[in-house]
């Protein structure tokens, strides 16, 4: 990430994204659903989002774009049942995140990859929003 990039952590900043809390329907369920840590940066090509999802496999992750909304839901695997937590807080059972994508983003061309508990999402800019250099004759 170079210095000219706009970046933000868990908030919208100027990256053509806005977030809302996890769906109320999901938080009222018996499972403990948390909003994952996320940050986003924007460069000339588009917006890049990193979502922290420790303990989540690709199969347990759902990512969908509906209109201008990007929805993420992931369940986290817990190891071991016959154990007692003696320090710290229990990890969430699931993560949910909803982001609103700006008009300038080509949400149909979104790409995503999950590695070592980090989901990297890239959304390119719509052609109209890209910087165009105009040659002067």
């Amino acid at each position: 990430m170079n210095e000219s990039n706009q970046s933000c952590r868990g908030r919208s900043g100027n990256t053509s994204l806005s977030s809302s809390e996890a769906d109320p329907a999901q938080t009222s369920a018996p499972v403990h659903t948390a909003q994952p840590d996320w940050n986003a940066s924007r460069d000339d090509t588009g917006v890049h989002i990193n979502v922290t999802l420790p303990g989540v496999t690709k199969d347990d992750l759902q990512l969908e774009v509906e209109g201008r909304n990007l929805r993420l839901h992931a369940s986290r695997k817990s190891a071991g049942k016959n154990r007692t937590l003696i320090l710290g807080h229990e990890a969430p059972d699931a993560y949910a995140l909803k982001l609103r994508l700006g008009e300038s983003l080509a949400s149909g061309s979104l790409t995503a990859a999950l590695t070592d508990g980090i989901l990297k999402i890239s959304i390119p800019l719509e052609d109209e929003a890209k910087t165009r250099t105009i040659e002067i004759n």
Binding site: T52, A79, N82, L85, I86, L87
Partner: protein, 120 residues
């Protein structure tokens, strides 16, 4: 996250651990939901969320009965955990795994020396 007094006094291994952690807890990064310790019948498991950290960026060793974890996060931030191990931990049998951005350190309990006494 700070341990109640009853736990401190009855579990020496844990009190060692908590003393270290009360100091560490002043740092807001540690107060987050990233570190957990579980107790099982014959072991403890230390779980730390380390998303984006690869195995080759982590060093784990035991020196003078202190478990030392050093590494570097993806954002180049330094990682440093120190955990004094009590006498009950079987140091030779400690094992660790890193999967899906979660580090699990398994700390087995030494076989308790006990003798059944028959009542005549």
């Amino acid at each position: 996250m700070i341990l109640p007094n009853n736990l401190r006094n009855t579990t020496p291994w844990l009190s060692e651990f908590s003393r270290l952690f009360e100091a560490g807890l002043r740092s807001p990064s540690l107060a987050q939901r990233k570190l957990r310790i579980y107790e099982e019948e014959d072991s403890w498991t230390l779980e730390i969320d380390l998303p984006g950290v690869s195995k080759d960026k982590l060093g784990l060793k035991v020196e003078d009965r202190v478990l030392r974890l050093d590494g570097r996060r993806e954002d180049s931030q330094e990682l440093r955990y120190r955990l004094p191990l009590g006498e009950e931990v079987d140091i030779e049998a400690i094992s660790a795994s890193l999967d899906l951005g979660v580090l699990r350190i398994h700390l087995p309990r030494k076989a308790r020396a006990h003798k059944q006494i028959d009542i005549l």
